[in-house]
């Protein structure tokens, strides 16, 4: 549980931070600081077990059926990384408190920062590879949000998008790689995977897994050729750059490589892919860093180069190289985080990060200057600082691998050393020289606590550099033992190893670097360079933008060729596919048992003839005559209702009658707003018209025939007597009702019904929401032609006047009298639904139609002035009622939606039989009323809105001087 809280607490903190007010800088900092201190205390308390070489595990079942558990696993490596993330996190929080200006919305910043911390800890502590990928993507996401923190700036948005696209794509590759790895090993558990190294390397899919995982790690750690996103990510606030883009997140890639070293390394492929990428990155990063003018840009390229150094060491893959890699991860985190913070202070105090302007800062910022110079020296690899130690280890490893054949390895190492000394000098140079006079702001030392994190980190650089064995030694030892296990080599952490080749290389790098810088500065006019010489052609960012542009235009092209915004072609293709695909897939069954035919009723056949003719004629008319088609389909609907009645399905018949009515009104309401048909070319010739009509009708008839054939096949097939008999037998005894259909709906399958009612409500709300913002086609916004006739008295009347005294007077009296009757009928059908045909659905439709008729009669305005129609409340009431009835069963410790039947004896009414399904049905009733009313009224209100518009404009027109 303690382990779990390590990940859990930052996320909770993130949530709390998001809810604090915008100006709560101190509270936010206390909260974030508290979270990190808590994490540090918890992690530190684990040290005795970790130092003893134990592996702590905490398993939570996640998807046990899929063999996926939420596993937290702490070994030495994970522990060291946890401490790194939390310790640097604490310093960054402290620094950010002073860095963020009062006008920045800090809740967002600290919330994202804590969420990132939780994700990063998740990556580090995951004992399951799939879980690791999930947290991995979470770090990409939080990094995106943090880079885009100042989202009003275009460069922040662009940088964030680029970083996210690259790292998240890498994350997807990693996911695929992990799945391949899981396929090879048969488990995603880290312990199992790490133990199966030999099996993985011997497997056919080894290379696939390696390449995919390498893609994930290399994109995350900004390795060549994916390094371009990191400099653009510098648009983030400096605490973010210092935390995510130098100390922790970019280390996730190399962490993963170290983590999986036992499983994947030791093959030539590993060395070439990882080492090759590392060497390129190392040189390109270091070289490009010299030519940056932006302080943070220089640090970003330097970070790329140092990450390349770590990657090369991992690529070399010998145990000693791994020691150097882990050591350098820690060293780089300390000096680079402090350098970023120093750069932030300089930016904060002077208002610029341009190294062409900055100079002589040591006069105004003596303490910051000293700190930055020491950290810069560590970056350059000056002796007695931590950077020197790990760099010397790197040199000796390069020599070892390089020996004779690969001499270029040593050359690359020395070149990188020279470059890094040169860019460190470039960085340090801003503190020397005459004080600058043209700075945007007059600098002075930052607040005490803003500088404190830098001081602490620089102190760490010094202590580690002078007495490595007693300061960092034990911690490094823990991580190395956890990674290398039995193959842990003998290594010696000391600043002085005597005169040897690596020392010579260090000296060459130092002297060469100084010379190189002096030459560049005096002979090459470093400040006037606008691009990096030689390698500016390999512009990753440009390539990225091009790819993105191609992708977008490719998608547009596909959409243009394959997509359409017209519904008719979509419908046509869909129906054709639905007709064709099942035939291709299924074929005709071989065994076909049928039941004997039960005689013919010529009258019934004649009724069907009417229905079929109406349907086919409707399909023919649908192409060009909407209203005629609607009338014809209405005819088919009636015949369907008769069929249900004739074949003894009265429930269906009642529902069909109501649905028929409501649908007709609904389509008519929609028809008002449909734009006129696009005048197609086919209309110019009679044969074109005929061709299109025939095609559509053929498809429609084929679809209808297919449905008919399907129904016929079901009908002549002997009914299986398992499930229907079950319901017929148990409806009365267990459901307490003799209408099997209704008992089925509200009792046996009430969970289905609840789902359906919920879907209905969602549909209604969606329709309502869409119609609120609906802008009809310009052709149909005007008043219909029928209403514009000046001779028609109705043109001068409101809808209410038409109904009260106009042409609708007769209908008005009749329809208003009908309202209570329909209400009674609705109640009647509802009440007896459990035993005879009826129930909540039909009753709801009847009630909705009763109200709807009033709308048609007197218009929306009049009805809503006289009657409170609140479809939303009906909907909410219905859903709540249905749910609470279901939940009520829990009170009596029955499963959800269990029905209970109560027998109540009331005076006057006598013995009453009250199943709880009745209340559930009431919920269905209310939800159906709400749904129907909501959709129809939302459509009806379009007319009210459309009418209001011209009348609002009219008075303005009259006032306008002419």
């Amino acid at each position: 549980m303690l382990l779990f809280s390590l990940i859990f607490v930052p996320f909770v903190g993130s949530l709390v931070a998001a809810l604090l007010p915008a100006d709560a800088r101190n509270r936010e900092a206390w909260l974030a600081g508290g979270v990190t201190v808590y994490g540090l205390v918890v992690a530190a308390s684990l040290y005795p077990e970790i130092a003893a070489g134990e592996i702590l595990r905490h398993d939570l079942p996640w998807l046990p059926a899929q063999g996926l558990d939420f596993v937290l696993r702490v070994d030495g490596l994970a522990w060291v990384f946890t401490m790194l993330v939390l310790a640097i996190g604490f310093l960054v929080v402290l620094y950010a408190r002073y860095y963020m200006s009062p006008s920045d919305p800090v809740p967002r910043f600290f919330s994202f920062l804590l969420a990132f911390m939780g994700s990063m800890l998740g990556v580090v502590l995951s004992g399951n590879l799939v879980q690791l990928v999930v947290f991995w993507e979470l770090t990409s996401l939080t990094s995106f949000l943090l880079i885009a923190y100042w989202h009003h700036r275009a460069d922040a948005r662009r940088g964030a998008r680029m970083a996210f696209t690259v790292t998240a794509t890498g994350g997807l590759c990693l996911m695929a790689g992990v799945l391949v790895l899981g396929h090879i090993v048969g488990s995603y558990d880290l312990d199992v995977v790490l133990a199966a190294g030999d099996r993985i390397r011997a497997h056919d899919l080894y290379l696939v897994a390696l390449v995919l995982i390498a893609l994930g790690a290399l994109t995350k750690s900004a390795q060549f050729p994916f390094h371009f996103w990191l400099p653009h990510a510098m648009a983030a606030p400096t605490p973010v750059s210092s935390y995510l883009h130098s100390a922790t997140m970019v280390k996730a890639g190399v962490f993963l490589l170290v983590r999986l070293w036992p499983a994947l390394s030791g093959t030539p492929e590993w060395s070439w892919i990882i080492g090759g990428a590392g060497v390129c990155t190392l040189l390109i990063g270091a070289f490009a860093a010299i030519f940056q003018h932006d302080l943070k840009g220089l640090l970003a390229y330097s970070t790329i180069s140092h990450l390349g150094l770590i990657t090369v060491l991992i690529g070399i893959g010998t145990p000693l190289a791994m020691v150097a890699a882990i050591f350098h991860i820690l060293n780089h985190a300390t000096f680079k985080a402090s350098l970023f913070m120093a750069a932030g202070i300089i930016d904060h105090e002077t208002g610029t990060r341009d190294m062409r302007v900055l100079r002589g800062l040591r006069h105004k910022l003596p303490i910051t200057a000293t700190l930055a110079i020491v950290a810069g020296a560590a970056m350059a690899g000056v002796p007695l600082l931590n950077g020197f130690l790990s760099k010397e280890m790197f040199f000796s490893e390069a020599l070892l691998v390089g020996s004779d054949r690969n001499w270029w390895m040593s050359a690359a190492a020395v070149a990188m050393g020279i470059f890094s000394v040169a860019y460190s000098l470039r960085f340090i140079a801003i503190f020397f020289g005459p004080p600058a006079t043209d700075l945007p702001r007059v600098p002075h030392e930052p607040p005490r606590w803003m500088r404190f994190p830098v001081e602490l980190l620089v102190l760490a650089c010094l202590v580690v550099g002078v007495v490595p064995a007693i300061s960092i030694g034990p911690i490094l030892d823990v991580a190395v033992h956890a990674t290398l296990g039995a193959s842990t080599p003998q290594y010696d952490l000391a600043p002085w190893h005597g005169f040897n080749l690596p020392l010579l290389m260090s000296v060459i790098a130092l002297v060469g670097g100084v010379l190189f810088y002096v030459v560049l500065r005096n002979r090459f006019d470093l400040h006037a360079r606008t691009r990096t010489p030689l390698i500016y052609r390999f512009n990753g960012a440009q390539a990225y933008e091009t790819v993105m542009l191609r992708l977008t235009s490719g998608a547009e092209w596909l959409l243009r060729w394959l997509g359409t915004s017209r519904l008719q072609p979509q419908l046509l293709i869909m129906i054709i596919a639905m007709l064709g695909v099942p035939l291709l897939l299924a074929g005709v069954p071989t065994q076909w048992t049928t039941i004997p035919r039960q005689g013919t009723d010529p009258l019934f056949a004649l009724v069907w003839v009417i229905g079929c003719v109406c349907a086919v004629a409707g399909a023919w008319m649908a192409k060009y005559h909407r209203l005629a088609a609607l009338s014809l389909i209405g005819g088919t609907g009636i015949i369907t209702a008769i069929t249900f009645l004739w074949l003894s399905a009265p429930d269906l018949a009642l529902t069909q009658l109501m649905v028929e009515t409501v649908t007709t009104v609904l389509i008519l309401l929609g028809l008002r707003w449909l734009p006129p048909r696009i005048e197609a070319k086919e209309l110019e010739t009679p044969s074109g018209v005929w061709l299109h009509r025939s095609r559509d009708m053929a498809v429609a008839v084929a679809g209808g025939l297919a449905m008919a054939a399907l129904t016929y096949a079901v009908l002549i097939h002997p009914a299986s007597d398992t499930i229907s008999d079950f319901f017929l037998l148990r409806a009365l005894s267990e459901g307490g009702g003799s209408n099997v259909v209704n008992v089925l709906l509200v009792d046996f399958r009430s969970f289905d019904t609840l789902g359906e009612v919920t879907v209905l409500s969602i549909v209604a709300l969606t329709v309502y929401a869409l119609l609120r913002r609906f802008r009809p086609a310009p052709e149909s916004t005007g008043v219909p032609a029928q209403q514009g006739h000046s001779l028609d008295p109705a043109s001068h009347q409101t809808p209410a006047e038409q109904a009260n005294s106009g042409y609708l007077m007769v209908a008005g009296i009749y329809l208003r009298l009908l309202l209570p009757f329909l209400g009674v009928i609705a109640v009647y059908f509802f009440m007896r639904g459990h035993n005879l045909p009826g129930g909540g659905f039909v009753a709801g439709l009847i009630f909705a139609v009763a109200i709807l008729v009033q709308y048609m009669l007197a218009g929306a305005v009049w009805v809503e002035n006289h009657l409170r129609v609140r479809p939303h409340r009906w909907l909410a009431f219905g859903l709540v009622l249905a749910c609470t009835t279901g939940l009520g069963a829990w009170l009596f410790e029955y499963p959800f939606l269990t029905t209970h039947t109560a027998h109540v004896t009331l005076p006057l009414l006598g013995d009453l039989h009250l199943p709880s399904a009745f209340v559930f049905d009431l919920g269905v009733f209310a939800a159906v009323v709400g749904t129907t009313m909501l959709i129809l009224v939302a459509l009806a209100h379009q007319s009210v809105r459309a009418h209001r518009l011209p009348s609002e404009e009219a008075p303005q027109d009259s006032r306008r001087p002419s």
């Binding site: 009258l603 004649l606 009724v607 003839v609 009417i610 003719v613 109406c614 004629a617 209203l627 005629a628 609607l630 009338s631 014809l632 209405g634 005819g635 009636i638 209702a641 008769i642 009645l645 004739w646 009265p650 018949a653 009642l654 009658l657 109501m658 028929e660 009515t661 007709t664 009104v665 008519l668 309401l669 028809l671 008002r672 008043v783 219909p784 032609a785 029928q786 209403q787 109705a794 809808p799 209908a811 009908l818 009757f821 329909l822 009928i825 005879l836 045909p837 009847i846 139609v849 709807l852 008729v853 709308y855 048609m856 218009g859 929306a860 129809l936 459509l939 009806a940 007319s943 009418h947």
Partner: protein, 94 residues
């Protein structure tokens, strides 16, 4: 000829007449030619359906048919009103 036989013959005759009426309504619905013809035909179809359902109720001796007929009588006109109003005013709910 007993009462039951008479009744069954009468019902048969009435059924045939009603279905023929429905057939004619259907023809008018298909032929048109004007929208008013179609709407009138649809309204008549609803009405004849109600009659058919009543007679089926007598024939099968089932009370549910009468309730269905009542429902048709009560709400059968709604689609007619909607269609007519659409024709006359251009929209169903003003």
């Amino acid at each position: 000829m007993s009462a039951a036989t008479l009744l069954s013959f009468a019902i048969m005759f009435a059924l045939v007449c009603t279905v023929l009426a429905m057939l004619l309504c259907g023809m008018r619905l298909v032929i048109g030619p004007t929208a008013q013809d179609r709407i009138l035909a649809l309204d008549t179809l609803w009405m004849t359906t109600m009659l058919l359902v009543l007679m089926l109720g007598i024939r099968f001796g089932n009370l549910v048919f009468f309730e269905a007929a009542m429902l048709i009588a009560l709400i059968g006109f709604v689609s007619t009103v909607a269609l007519a109003k659409f024709l006359m005013r251009g929209e169903v709910i003003e």
